[in-house]
Symmetry: D2
Subunit: 468 residues, 4 copies
């Protein structure tokens, strides 16, 4: 059956679109915090890059405040275009001719907060090497053990020799921890130790802390630039394209899925169950599923699921075992939190970063699957092999793709801080590195869009129910 | 020394930019070839996706001809803004409600041309699985051994079972070859065998061939959609963000660089020399250098170099060996072609794809380095260890990042062809998948920009001369 | 302080030893079961290898019944030598000129039992390819899902094409299961299906089952050769040097230990805890510890440990955390079974292979460590990261070392069965492949010797207490 | 056709063998050099291991001079048994109660000579950590750049902190070189610098040098123990089971063979050609072939081959390409040296270690294959992809199997030197570590036995001609 009438309309629309000329109005530049906002008398210093033969000391080399990246790039040219907007542009990352620090007087602190993520050591190393080699900054310190390290542990002096080879090591040599955020102790320590550039590598909790630190520093009118580098292996930070370590994590997750697949295939009615990282978002689970092609069911926080009854997980697995003899289920750690029985004592529990304690969806699912089978198929063989590869995934060094990201994001942060920007993070927007106000990043979420093609493809590949 | 006057101006500029509102005019949509351009009476068919429970059969799921991506997203908001333009937008990739093929009558052909690249088998597999599962197309054929296979070898029927597991294999199960392009034989064969969708996975040579095939098919007014997927491990195709397999190649190159580094470090005056892929562009070399951090000198086609005299390679290496005792040099295969002595017979030589035969810069450099040392330091130990990892890099399967790319780019091509688009390729623009006229891609080049920050960082990291 | 008197004696002893000539008496050949033991009228058939140009058809190529390997090769030449013995020799594995099967009438069955182990598929593949290529056997069947498959599932015909590429896959394509051992059903099925060579790849449970099968077949006087290939990733089988997959498992375990180390190092008072395979023996744990050099404490079943008090684990870790700030503990799954509180219901529990159900020493230790710290250091930060990589270790394909082992052990089994040997297993003794009566292997244990140098080295490397 | 007469004889022989008792006479202990051979008045010192709680200070822990390993363990029990012998036994490696050095006065030197091999750094590290931790030796020095380093470069002081993490690095941090052997300069330097223990890690050239050093030291009656650790990635040292790094090299070679296979498969008439290490022996090539199963032809120095005519390589490949469309050839670097045309100037060329310069069999074969095809099949497509992975194989760190070997062989060397043995090497014999006079090892060769089963299996697997 064909719709001849629409073909002409279709053709006409394409024709018309190709001939027209369009305009995007109501474009606004996202305002960036700057030291001169509250210290109007700051002076500009000469930029050591002017003397650096490796950076063409020509004006076009430098990024200016008017160099911007447009964030909203997907448009609908039909009648509704342009939507009222505003369309946001962001300052591009990169070296500025005008810098607001004298390299000889910069005293930089670097801290890592929260859980491990591939590439943390690479970011630290690149901050140290970049500050040292690009701007001749020689007073660089590592804050140990996360935020609490500012006020409770002696900082570690860092230089290019100290950090040599760190990029080949997983984890963070500076150590990390959750919690320990005490605003006044931290800002006092920053001030007392004479730090005037603070680089914070951390997740959403750390970014919210950074907002407070920045506000307090601004309130006290201190000449201290605060730059952030979002770290979240879950890739749940909004606005930026992706966070460092994410590609490495997806790569490593393949190994666990492949093992689960082999275990499932080698058994009679075998189920391979893998729990992957992802507290509020299923990005790793989704990408690992799409990359692997061995997954039969992919459970993520953005898509509620249920076990029993029509359209439930058990029915789906029953059919899959009947057809294939085995199945692989991948579940994000944040999935199913609403259906796991929660004993009263746990309801309010939070970890030291203030995040709610997550119930172990993997262990729970493993046990529910066994109970279901014993009830419904008591005479048949059945095996669930459960793999939790979390620490084996997040403790590896960054792969080449993430490694390059770490270099650029670290250098971007340095250029921004030297240029007097503060309360900002650096990160890629539409493939180009930009500066973003930390408040915006701390607020933004980046859930998996379960209405777009990637999710449809997952469901198409896995044939799993939508639990709708 | 501080420039107080500029600080105020700087502040003022930032302020002003943040308050203003901007407009981009002169936006043009890049026109895409469509079967109805020369077959105006084609009918629209019902879309099997409408019946697919995994794809929400709701209007917002489908991409329409007015869904576009803006390509030019880096702007300068200063006086010069907006530049006269035009600013180009491209059709977004994705499923269309209106399709111009009846699934039961689609007969698809898939061909791979040119050298190997990680992910080729994944693209083939995804084309087959996508056509079969998404649109119910069951007549899919692999053309063996490149373009010549159309008219000289029997096609191989493909289905999801045939291609099962191909994504775990490097190379191309369909086999590939250079050359063999005979326009009329190819178009005749396409027509005689009844193919009405042709998917071409190939490099710039194959894309130029595809332009001719598309034009001939259009000239003959045949209902045959021709879709391309740019394949170039060198990443030298323009317009698209990157090509599949590139990230995998950069990852694998680390292994060779690391070995060269170990060999150099373990010797007295040791030089590790690695030749990487990159005929006209140095992307792999550049990215591998930035990711590795073990490279002392990075030679790419975009940046001419010389050996002798002040600022030359020998002087640089002499100093590096004096300082460090060892050095690592990475050279793209297309570098130095202008300074390698060329015997007359070679001048005009071309390979079967019509590409000029490249002189072996690795072997030549190795020999020149030895001659130089024997001449200048006859009494000192010296070692050059030369590694050419080309085939070990390009013959591996795609890593997870590239694997996902392969899925999306293949499905995009399918959706485009089903929707009647032709003479197009699919690929990512600013992180989103789009359709691009093949003529434009076949023309576009993507050289390394030796004036931007990445190259400056390479030079800063390596301290190598600019040979300027 | 020197002991001059002994130096002379020492010298004298060495001198004397070097001049003497020694003799080993009381050497006995370990008797091997043979079909002619109960079928004395069996005929010898011509060996297809005589016609195989790749095997030199010369008499010295074949192994004869008098070709043996001495097992006891460590001697003490002092007064006590030779110990009364007997010293055992074993029949060497390899092709025999005299074979007791006509290739055209061989009907072989291959079964895999018990848990996964790297290399299972390689052994299956090599059995199939070896039978086919070496002896021209074309009736080869895979028994699915372990022992129960003999009588409950249709066997799968196998040939070199079917098994192509299986060596690149972990697990077992034939599927495996525990239990299902029903002697009479199995022997009846073997007989009814006409199998006359049965190859059993399995652990100690399967080997004990094989003893019963062999005895029953002997009792019934059937011409069926039964050959075993010991499979135990734990390496707990005695007499043979090591079992296949063990080296691969130790290799893979490095990854988990390395991740645990990174997690521990990146935390404040961080403990990385890894549970490795090893029900009754600690070989994987011991070898992984020695290979890794990142382990602070290695707990194995052969060496009891305790938590509290002087010389206990907690005291040791307390000191280690004070000194280093982090520690890595590796524990074999069978360690500590005597000190984990066991609820009554569990006391007698056995799995389907009849092995006692093991208590989860990893989960228990993790919880005890947390309780201990909360009790003794309630104010200090503390982290335990627990990794159980079991399925990620055992589901991988064999590495090159194990892969070669698989080939030789499979071919050895074939040669033995063709030569009429039965009730035997093949495996390496002192680096050479031999045939061993299955009863002997089923009985033998191979515990870690905690009085030898390897264990002393572990303790020396780790400085851990001996819990003595 | 069956040979009934022999079956009875066969049975009788087995019966008789099983009932008899055997004796091995004429066993001789291989004499080991000891400092007291020429310094009879040396005193015994107290052993720090007696105080080491990790080594049970009980008499049975120590190895005595009468603890030996029998080397000849394959016997023929038929009439010819025992062969006249003598059967050799070797001193077992391990700690001795009697030591001839006072730890406080030990001054140890470690040197690495020749080409790289996986595990060199591990051996160095284990020597340093072992000397320090086991015996409390604190004066340990690395000799840089091979033998010449003794007299021309300042030694590097080493301690457990210096060598931390070296086992994760390929190559040798001490640097290595060929040649530079000047007996008197070396022995003078050893003496002048006060070294009394010298550990030499090197190949057969270095072992021959070690014989001279030992003899000169003995001649001068110096109290200097000289211990060797054979290093040869080719595994061409006799007597010992295998050398360190060999298993790792075979593992890494799989990657190159796999790439060659993919390249060959993806082309029309594609040949993948891989050159592997192996100057005089084909062990790596043989083992890599057996482990890979992707190789069609395996060329080693022990088996001469030819190109043209019946039974030649070209004929074999012609057939293989006709049948399969592709082929993989693996060639050891020392193969074919007799048939590669040698220009006169090269005939006598030697490298700095005195080894003959090898002609590039890989490059030559590649070129000959192309010439052959152009001549015999001028119209058909043909591709040869040549991979030389040498430096990518030998520059990696040791895998777990080799890593453990490195630990034991290094500790064995230490125990031996402390016990006053000299002019010896440590290495595994029949799976147990022993001490072997260096003269014997320097002389012994370990060619591939082309008459045994492994080679027959290669030929059976590959179906290649025997070029006989």
């Amino acid at each position: 059956m064909a719709f001849s009438s629409n073909a002409a309309a279709d053709h006409h629309l394409r024709q018309e679109l190709a001939e027209n000329q369009f305009t995007i109005s109501n474009i606004k530049l996202q305002r960036l915090n700057h030291l001169t906002d509250y210290l109007p008398d700051l002076q500009i210093h000469s930029n050591p890059l002017d003397q650096n033969p490796f950076f063409h000391p020509v004006s076009e080399f430098y990024i200016t405040p008017s160099d911007v990246i447009l964030r909203h790039i997907l448009h609908d040219l039909s009648g509704a275009f342009p939507s009222p907007g505003p369309y946001l542009e962001y300052h591009r990352a990169g070296p500025r001719k005008q810098i607001y620090f004298d390299s000889c007087h910069v005293r930089a602190a670097i801290v890592t907060c929260g859980g491990l993520c591939p590439g943390m050591n690479t970011v630290i190393r690149e901050l140290v090497v970049g500050l040292w080699e690009l701007y001749g900054v020689h007073e660089i310190f590592g804050i140990r053990a996360g935020y609490r390290g500012f006020y409770s542990i002696e900082p570690v002096p860092l230089n290019p020799k100290t950090v040599d080879g760190w990029h080949r090591k997983g984890g963070t040599v500076l150590e990390t921890s959750r919690g320990g955020f005490d605003l006044h102790k931290i800002v006092n320590a920053i001030k007392d130790r004479g730090f005037n550039q603070v680089y914070i590598i951390g997740g959403d909790g750390a970014m919210r802390g950074m907002v407070e630190i920045f506000n307090e520093i601004k309130h006290r009118k201190l000449k201290i630039a605060v730059a952030g580098i979002p770290k979240t292996v879950d890739n749940d930070v909004g606005i930026i394209d992706r966070s460092f370590g994410f590609q490495t994590a997806v790569e490593m997750a393949q190994q666990a899925i492949s093992a689960a697949h082999i275990e499932a295939e080698s058994a009679v009615n075998g189920i391979g169950l893998v729990k992957l990282m992802g507290r509020s978002t299923g990005h790793i689970t989704l990408h690992a599923t799409l990359s692997s092609r061995d997954v039969d069911c992919c459970l993520i926080p953005e898509n509620k699921f249920y076990l029993e009854g029509k359209g439930g997980l058990f029915e789906f697995l029953d059919n899959r075992l009947k057809d294939n003899g085995h199945a692989v289920v991948v579940v994000a750690e944040g999935a199913g939190q609403d259906i796991i029985p929660r004993t009263e004592s746990l309801v309010q529990e939070k970890d030291e970063s203030g995040n709610p304690v997550f119930l172990d969806v993997g262990g729970w699912l493993k046990s529910e699957l066994k109970k279901w089978w014993d009830r419904d198929h008591p005479k048949d063989l059945f095996t669930v092999k459960y793999i939790d590869p979390t620490y084996m995934i997040r403790a590896v060094p960054a792969n080449a793709t993430d490694s390059l990201y770490c270099t650029i994001v670290a250098h971007s942060a340095i250029h921004g801080a030297m240029a007097g920007y503060t309360g900002f993070v650096s990160g890629p927007i539409n493939g180009n590195y930009a500066y973003i106000p930390v408040e915006e990043v701390a607020r933004a979420k980046n859930p998996v869009n379960t209405r777009d093609h990637k999710w449809a493809w997952v469901r198409s590949i896995t044939n799993q129910p939508d639990f709708g």
